[in-house]
Symmetry: C2
Subunit: 356 residues, 2 copies
């Protein structure tokens, strides 16, 4: 038992150091990689209890998706299941943990893509759908469209029998407090300096998207992304998460990608598809391509960002140019590996692993 | 006078045959290329009077943009001016000629991009903004966002002082009749066979976007696209026109692109950015790249489509895989050249030229 824990701790530290895994999966092996948002995530602002909550929820999402992959399920199902766990958690800026827009509403966006055929679906500015990722999937599978927005998307999701909830379902005190902080900071920028550590830990208000990419036992890739957008956003702003090619991409011939970060940069740099194009047209590996886009192109442009990218051989990368990114992966061995901070800030405590 | 007309007719025929121009502009030369939608545009369904109206309006849009370029104006201003002309014309599916959604409303999308710095702006599902392309530009220049949607976008545009009109401004009898035809066809598919020729000429209901790409005398590229979407669309469907990288792209290092056609394919094939990526990563010319995407990739996928693409040397292409595409260009010589049908259906009458 002690040896097992030690082994896993070392493996997890290696992953935390390298930040990615480049090893090729064996035939039929499955991989699920997830993120829970990138941003100014610093140990100094995070209590051990809160960190543990994040680690455990990431591991739960990984196990949910892995359960599907292990029983021969599809990468699409695994992506959806992993994102459901994060959408239902108030920890992440998606579904129930969504941040508030300027008018006090929770407006959510999501998208999903099937690597077999580039089929894709997305919804934007929805307010009453419990699992926006499932609404995106319904758009992909039950309509001839790619993107539905606002009330129309909600009517479509309702007609498809998706779970509809009252807008209050998405109300959480922490996120409400963040909006009040943001509104006060607008009135009085000096007030922003007086935020409590707990509030600061959540002041990833620009960046808190969740996402998943998966490779199933048949070698098919899928990707999905879900978000509550930005705290205090106005004018029905739409970010990159529902944009195919920006926040989400999947094509078996190249890779599956989900992004998190400053959405406007993801849109202007077409991040998801650019990673794929660098692989297809330049012959870069999934690690080289995603590192180039996140840590070179976007960094130079000033866009704080992270992404997860997975190819159809099981190679993946989790680059980010921010202080941290909630992230993790699970292979056929069924052991979830999770990390939060950057390479030089590796966690002292062992990462969450499989359930006891 | 006769010689001049003859010369221009021959030149126009050559352009109609080649479908593009590959010649390089001289230093400081300006180019403006526009489209008014691609689709099943057949001479058999088009009256000479209607064809003349299209040709004259395309020429008017070209002259409006060229006037700006010729006096040292920017490519962004030229793109916006050319699109204004088409947005104000009931001939095109944008602005005043927008098709009706299922619920009897006109819902418009637009986007614009600056090739100097990849700045971009877009609006979707707006119903009261006379010139959606100008709202997209305001998003780019006056907000920190790329994409605003629905009521939020309208409030933003109103606050920016853009021209607001009653939704009735966008009501036109032809488009209303198209919606009624589409609704009847839904109830009774056999009725679709009984459409009048005039109605058929306008049954480009899937594809009627307008767009422009321009190169100004300082060598800067810009691109813009504006659309009313699809007749009888439901659920606030959003197509490719407001999606940066799909319907619109501009980067001085590669090209400026505006697309028209089956929007869902443009989104899944990331058409605008793919043309740029093929140029940057594979070294293809703007003609090779745009032909590959429109006439190979999208054609194989089953996506009816057209695009205009212009590089910073003044080379451009206007490929389409549909029966026709309303299109035209104007160089520093100030002579607008327009075409409608495919290469093998070249117009018998001389295209519209400069104003008398």
């Amino acid at each position: 038992m002690l040896l097992r824990t030690l082994f896993r701790t070392i493996a997890a530290l290696l992953v935390a150091v390298s930040g990615y895994s480049q090893s090729t999966a064996t035939e039929g092996e499955t991989v699920l990689v997830i993120h829970g948002g990138a941003g100014t995530i610093l140990r100094a602002n995070m209590s051990p209890e809160l960190e543990l909550q994040y680690r455990e929820k990431l591991a739960e999402a990984l196990r949910a998706g892995h359960g599907i992959l292990a029983s021969g399920g599809t990468s699409l199902d695994a992506v959806e299941a992993a994102i459901h766990v994060m959408e239902d958690s108030p920890l992440f800026n998606a579904g129930r943990g969504s941040v508030f827009a300027h008018d006090g509403r929770n407006e959510m966006d999501a998208s999903i893509m099937d690597g077999r055929n580039r089929m894709a679906g997305a919804v934007t500015s929805v307010t009453i759908i419990r699992h926006p990722i499932s609404a995106a999937r319904a758009v992909m599978e039950k309509s001839e469209h790619v993107l539905l927005s606002g009330r129309g998307a909600e009517l479509f999701a309702t007609a498809q029998g998706l779970e509809i909830v009252a807008p209050e379902w998405f109300w959480t005190e922490r996120r409400w407090k963040q909006l009040q902080d943001a509104l006060r900071a607008e009135q009085n920028p000096a007030a922003a300096a007086n935020l409590t550590p707990d509030a600061e830990a959540f002041v990833d208000h620009k960046f808190g998207t969740v996402g998943a990419v998966a490779l199933d036992s048949r070698g098919n890739l899928a990707a999905g992304t879900s978000t509550g957008g930005r705290t205090n956003k106005r004018w029905n702003r739409v970010g990159d998460s529902p944009i195919i090619g920006a926040g989400t991409w999947a094509d078996n011939r190249t890779c599956a990608v989900s992004g998190t970060g400053h959405g406007e940069f993801f849109m202007r740099w077409v991040v998801g598809y650019d990673i794929a194009a660098l692989m297809e047209y330049r012959g870069l590996s999934v690690k080289e391509a995603s590192e180039l886009v996140i840590n070179d192109k976007l960094k130079k442009a000033g866009g704080e960002a992270g992404a997860i990218a997975l190819d159809s051989k099981g190679n993946f990368a989790m680059p980010f140019n921010s202080a941290g990114m909630y992230r993790g992966y699970i292979r056929s061995d069924g052991i979830p590996r999770v990390a939060i901070y950057g390479e030089d800030e590796r966690p002292a405590s062992p990462p969450a692993q499989e359930a006891p």
